[in-house]
């Protein structure tokens, strides 16, 4: 059983890696976008595993994007190095912000992270000399000169790395600590768990990844602009993907991202107007009728055991 699952995973990994060999630029760009959102969905889910519902995904994505774009435009940094720098910048900022926002819980944490996104975008809009203000900054060259295959491989490798981090986390000592924090923070503390330390670690980790993905996105399109770079899409779509696929797992956001990514693309083709309405309805239906996500609903059909990726369904009831 386990070997069979490994084979299937390996087949998917190889098939996805070889996509640029036979698919045209259109398909590559569709999957490119899917991997961007998949990575964001995973980071949002990893934060959620600690019990903190973050609305800051778009904010740290945008910060990474701007940091990387400005380093290339103003300091002439190598684009690939700037992607790492974008992640480091987002992570560093998250580290300092963490001392404030991670004291907050529940709705207060969520609202504050959402507000931060707006604050970042307002600050950037009001520094026109540095950032280009509301009209943004255009970079001289796109990443890999806009080669769709290379860009695809790059984001594919990034997404694989995020998946690996997510799997590693779910097998580590951190997994039990953050599960405990989500279940009951006071009991976690009384079990000797340094709650703040774990929250800070996860917040910095997910923010760094969001920064890297944002930086890649900016370099790929050679363009940053407050409206587009801090777009709520970078929060709402990953959130919907994780919910549809199934939260608190690695497989959930991955499946959710592929599914919703393909569905939205197909809907765009068959009905240029109003595809977002259908898209929205699908999300509502899935959340209503499969509140544990599509992956768990399927797992239940086949095994009658409600476990996916080692995360139990009972924890969803809190």
């Amino acid at each position: 059983m386990r070997n069979k699952a490994m084979l299937i995973v390996a087949a998917f990994v190889i098939a996805a890696a070889s996509l640029p060999l036979f698919a045209g630029p259109y398909f590559l760009s569709v999957f490119n976008t899917i991997f961007v959102y998949m990575s964001l969905a995973l980071t949002w889910d990893i934060m959620l595993r600690t019990g903190q519902l973050s609305y800051g995904t778009a904010g740290l994505f945008g910060l990474g994007a701007y940091a990387s774009a400005l380093l290339v435009a103003k300091a002439g940094l190598n684009p690939l190095v700037s992607i790492a720098a974008g992640g480091a910048f987002a992570g560093l900022l998250a580290f300092f912000l963490g001392f404030g926002v991670l004291r907050l819980r529940k709705i207060y944490f969520s609202i504050t992270t959402l507000a931060l996104t707006t604050v970042f975008s307002v600050i950037i809009r009001n520094l026109p000399r540095l950032t280009g203000g509301a009209s943004g900054t255009v970079l001289p060259r796109a990443l890999f000169n806009g080669d769709p295959g290379k860009n695809y491989w790059m984001i594919y490798c990034l997404a694989l790395a995020v998946i690996a981090i997510s799997v590693w986390l779910s097998k580590s000592k951190t997994h039990y600590a953050i599960n405990a924090i989500r279940n009951d923070e006071i009991t976690a503390r009384s079990s000797g768990i340094d709650v703040f330390k774990y929250l800070l670690f996860i917040f910095v980790l997910t923010s760094t990844i969001q920064g890297v993905i944002g930086a890649f996105y900016a370099q790929q399109y050679a363009f940053v602009q407050p409206e587009a770079t801090f777009s709520m899409n970078f929060l709402l779509l990953p959130l919907a993907m994780a919910l549809v696929g199934g939260v608190y797992s690695t497989i959930g956001p991955v499946v959710g991202a592929v599914l919703l990514g393909l569905v939205s693309e197909y809907l765009k083709l068959i009905m240029p107007y109003g595809h977002l309405i259908v898209y929205g309805i699908i999300i509502v239906l899935v959340v209503l009728f499969m509140p544990q996500g599509i992956t768990r609903a399927f797992a239940k059909l086949f095994t009658r055991k409600m476990q996916v990726g080692g995360v139990d369904s009972a924890s969803l009831r809190d």
Partner: protein, 235 residues
């Protein structure tokens, strides 16, 4: 071992504990009795750092702990079995137990040994080790919570109403087990409303009323006191 001096605790402007002092010696089992709302749970929360004292001092083995964080206090050897907040229902029995030791370095090293000890106290937990904790009965869950607390190899165990909500036969069993833990040289602070059962375990006790210590004494003194006999023992 534990010394509480002139403790005041308030939630905002409402003061719950007034100038409270108590101490627990090495190898002692001390009871804190009192009705609902007397401040027993608040006292416990203050000791383990979940609520901060307004004034006063709490020392453990001579070290002041009233400014320490809960997880530091837990690592230092005080572990509480809370009244409501109990276990991780979505984890198995064994995972719950392991979690009790995993984040406390000296307990982590002895995890397997301690699990055997906990299983010897509560054989039912060994039988159910692969079951999800949330699917067990109330009494079994209570045992699991005590087991998890013991997993951290505490120097002192604080129990907040371990008999609450248990059927009478289980209450008796619970206190038998507490007696066994006591014989293994555990220092225990027991907060209880069930004075009759509590008196069978403790060495010494305090009675708390309205956030203050109303009385302190040995088992004999407590069980012969007219007020306690009438208010708590129903005689």
């Amino acid at each position: 071992m534990l010394e509480v001096k002139n403790l005041d605790v308030a939630y905002g402007r409402i003061q719950v504990i007034w100038n409270l002092s108590l101490n627990i010696g090495n190898n002692e089992v001390v009871g804190v009795f009192g009705p609902n709302g007397a401040g027993k749970s608040t006292l416990i929360n203050a000791i383990v750092g979940v609520v901060k004292a307004k004034s006063g001092e709490i020392t453990f083995d001579g070290v002041p702990i009233h400014n320490q964080e809960t997880h530091t206090i837990a690592r230092g050897g005080i572990v509480v079995v809370p009244q409501n907040r109990e276990l991780f229902p979505a984890m198995t029995v064994k995972e719950n137990l392991r979690l009790g030791a995993a984040y406390i370095p000296h307990a982590r090293a002895k995890m397997d040994e301690t699990i055997e000890y906990v299983y010897s106290l509560f054989p039912i937990l060994k039988e159910r080790e692969k079951q999800l904790a949330g699917t067990m009965s109330g009494g079994q869950q209570r045992m699991l919570v005590i087991g998890r607390a013991l997993m951290s190899r505490p120097k002192m165990l604080i129990l907040d109403e371990p008999s609450l909500g248990l059927q009478p036969s289980l209450v008796t069993e619970m206190f038998q087990i507490l007696n066994r833990i006591k014989q293994d040289d555990m220092v225990i602070l027991l907060a209880e409303q069930n004075v009759r059962q509590g008196l069978k375990v403790i060495d010494r006790g305090y009675v708390m009323e309205n956030g203050r210590i109303a009385m302190e004494g040995s088992i004999e003194e407590l069980s012969e006191d007219e007020h306690i006999r009438r208010a708590y023992l129903g005689v």
